[in-house]
């Protein structure tokens, strides 16, 4: 007889709701003749709202569930919240996008939901196996979404590239996990933590840790594991690019933080050196490459690489303050970047014809609201007060200084000063230049208007009143230390 394990469905309710909604969207899509995509989007958005409510009780919990596979704590709660926010916003942006492209793809939303189920298990996983299964579920979804546009060779190319490189990095992650299991005899984070605290860590264990680091660095697009990013971000549908740059990044950083602080915390001296180098390379290369881009999606891709570099600074700092800074930064980044991609989706029009930076000329005159929103997002990306991006950078840099990484912060500040140049170039184009031919005026849809209003308001609000959110972030990382 096999004993029945303890099953805590309440704890995984948010993910469960999204999963069921994904299945529902797939099934209903078969029966609805026209507007199946809208039905899928409505189901998905409703599910996100319900899941937000179901996620709330997790905040005050601190219990392992499912034989220690996942843990329900404030950290999981915070990241579930980030994931749900980014999925919700992506659904809103995607509705407009699919209408623009004339596509009735209901599976689009189903796969988006499946992918976020994977993310949720990845962020709450306390066992490398669980984290890996979550990582794969999320990745498979994103590979498909990248190539979801029919008859677009660019999207297919991006999807295939992402699939090949992504599988490769997953394999490295798995290999690392296998080596760690060989060294310590355990795959649970608690077991690994005990092994690393014992002080006698074998070479095999260290190689395993290094391979995990590579796997995570790939997912967060840190240099030198960033090669896929520009092509994939450029080829994918704009809302999905936005989703990848925030949702996937947040989930990957969550697991990265949990694994490296909770189980390799005692080896922090070893890995912080490596991360120091990665952070510097990522910031420099990301920002320099972004300077010369003429395609807005590629520019934002390199900018997202650069942001991964800033976030890595928080990890190098290695303190609760640094980790809290990362959480706040990700919160700010989700709204900022998804907002920016919402504008890119709007301006892109059918077939994403207008994704050159030159297409933004005269936007300030023809669509003042849209141009204002874009400027706010770009200010936030550059880290200029009073936006959320400023507080995020400020907290992370502050934590690094407190830990004594002065040079790292100097490089961070210098590269973000350089980044102001390429963000402002877009602002200049919008307000100072006139387009050669006046393009047709853009039409807002209610969902897009909602998404843009929400993102602008949040970027400004949490930038001006950050205290509550910083406290939340500090509260959430408590379980890691």
């Amino acid at each position: 007889m096999i004993p029945v394990p303890e099953i805590n469905l309440g704890g995984v309710l948010p993910a469960l709701i999204l999963g069921v909604a994904g299945l529902l969207a797939t099934l209903l899509g078969l029966f609805v003749r026209k507007g199946a995509a809208t039905v899928g989007a409505i189901i998905g958005f409703t599910a996100v709202l319900i899941a937000l409510a179901a996620n709330a009780p997790l905040r005050f919990m601190n219990t392992p569930a499912f034989s220690g596979m996942i843990v329900l704590d404030t950290f999981s709660w915070f990241f579930n919240l980030l994931i749900l926010l980014s999925v919700g916003l992506t659904i809103l942006i995607s509705m407009k996008y699919l209408t623009d492209q004339g596509l009735d793809l209901y599976e689009y939303f189903a796969i988006l939901l499946f992918s976020s189920v994977g993310m949720m298990f990845m962020v709450s996983g306390t066992h490398l196996l669980m984290i890996f299964v979550g990582l794969e579920t999320l990745s498979i979804g994103v590979y498909v979404l990248t190539g979801v546009l029919p008859k677009s060779s660019k999207a297919s190319e991006a999807s295939l590239k992402y699939l090949l490189l992504g599988s490769f990095s997953s394999a490295l992650f798995l290999y690392g996990a296998a080596l760690l299991y060989g060294a310590s005899g355990s795959l649970s984070l608690a077991g690994l933590a005990k092994y690393f605290q014992s002080g006698s860590v074998s070479t095999m264990g260290l190689i395993g840790m290094g391979l995990l680091l590579v796997g995570f660095s790939f997912k967060v697009a840190a240099v030198p594991f960033h090669m896929w990013t520009p092509d994939v971000y450029d080829g994918a549908p704009s809302p999905i690019t936005g989703f990848m740059s925030v949702g996937v990044k947040a989930a990957a950083f969550a697991a990265f933080l949990r694994v490296f602080f909770e189980c390799f915390g005692s080896a922090q001296v070893t890995w912080s050196h490596i991360l120091w180098i990665l952070a510097v390379l990522t910031m420099i290369l990301g920002n320099l490459a972004a300077l010369v881009q003429s395609n807005i999606k590629r520019m934002l891709a390199y900018s997202s690489i650069a942001h991964a570099g800033y976030i890595l600074i928080g990890m190098v700092a290695g303190t609760a303050m640094g980790a809290a800074g990362i959480l706040y930064y990700l919160l700010a980044y989700i709204f900022t970047n998804l907002g920016a991609f919402a504008v890119v989706t709007m301006v892109g029009r059918k077939g994403e014809a207008n994704i050159s930076i030159d297409d933004y000329r005269g936007l300030g005159k023809s669509h003042p609201a849209l141009a204002l929103a874009m400027s706010i997002f770009l200010f936030s990306l550059a880290g200029i007060p009073p936006t959320a991006g400023f507080i995020g950078k400020f907290t992370i840099f502050g934590a690094a200084i407190a830990s004594g990484y002065i040079w790292l912060v100097i490089i961070g500040v210098l590269t973000s000063a350089a980044s102001v140049f390429y963000y402002f170039r877009v602002v200049m184009k919008m307000y100072m230049e006139a387009p050669e031919v006046e393009p047709e005026s853009l039409k807002f849809s209610p969902s897009m208007a909602l998404a843009l209003t929400l993102t602008v308001m949040v970027v400004l609000y949490i930038g001006i009143f950050p205290t509550t959110y910083l406290n939340l972030a500090t509260e959430s990382v408590k379980s890691l230390f």
Partner: protein
């Protein structure tokens, strides 16, 4: 007896692995790769790892290699498409990289050796059928990842259909 069996099987496995690399016709490569996989499976059986042996045959020798065969047959390669003799430069790089890998793996093997010996002396593992143990673990401790893996497969299936079908424009 077991030692002799091990050496025979090891030689077969290694030789067929070498043939995978050195034969020119892809179809021969694939057939030898299958033989390598089967050889590995028998080695797993010698280690009392029946489950891994089964998986090795079903997944690798069965599913993956059949896929390889299909692709090669679909490509329908002519003699002229086959690659020429490998260039010396590429050879050199290959040898250097393989040696580097061996050097890097050496400490790993060295650190595994005591663990493996420890496992071999642990009688419990061999006593219980390990299929039994794996099944028990899979449905108790690893219940959640197991269920989420089914989700993963579902997402992959739906994704393949989405990408593969011809879309009728609405």
């Amino acid at each position: 007896m077991e030692t002799i069996l091990f050496y025979v099987l090891a030689v077969v496995t290694l030789l067929s692995a070498v043939f995978v690399i050195f034969l020119r016709r892809p179809i021969h490569n694939v057939l030898f790769m299958i033989l390598t996989m089967i050889g590995l499976a028998t080695l797993f059986i010698l280690l009392h790892a029946e489950f891994i042996a089964m998986v090795q045959i079903i997944v690798y020798a069965g599913a993956v290699m059949v896929l390889f065969l299909f692709v090669i047959m679909l490509l329908n390669l002519e003699e002229i498409d086959l690659p020429r003799e490998p260039r010396p430069l590429r050879w050199g790089f290959g040898v250097i990289l393989s040696l580097a890998l061996v050097v890097m793996l050496f400490p790993v093997f060295k650190s595994i050796a005591p663990i493996i010996n420890g496992v071999a002396q642990n009688g419990d593992l061999a006593a219980a059928s390990n299929l039994d143990l794996i099944a028990k673990e899979l449905f108790t401790t690893y219940l959640l990842p197991f269920e989420i893996a089914s989700f993963l497969l579902l997402a992959a299936i739906i994704g393949t259909v989405v990408i593969g079908r011809k879309l009728t424009k609405s």
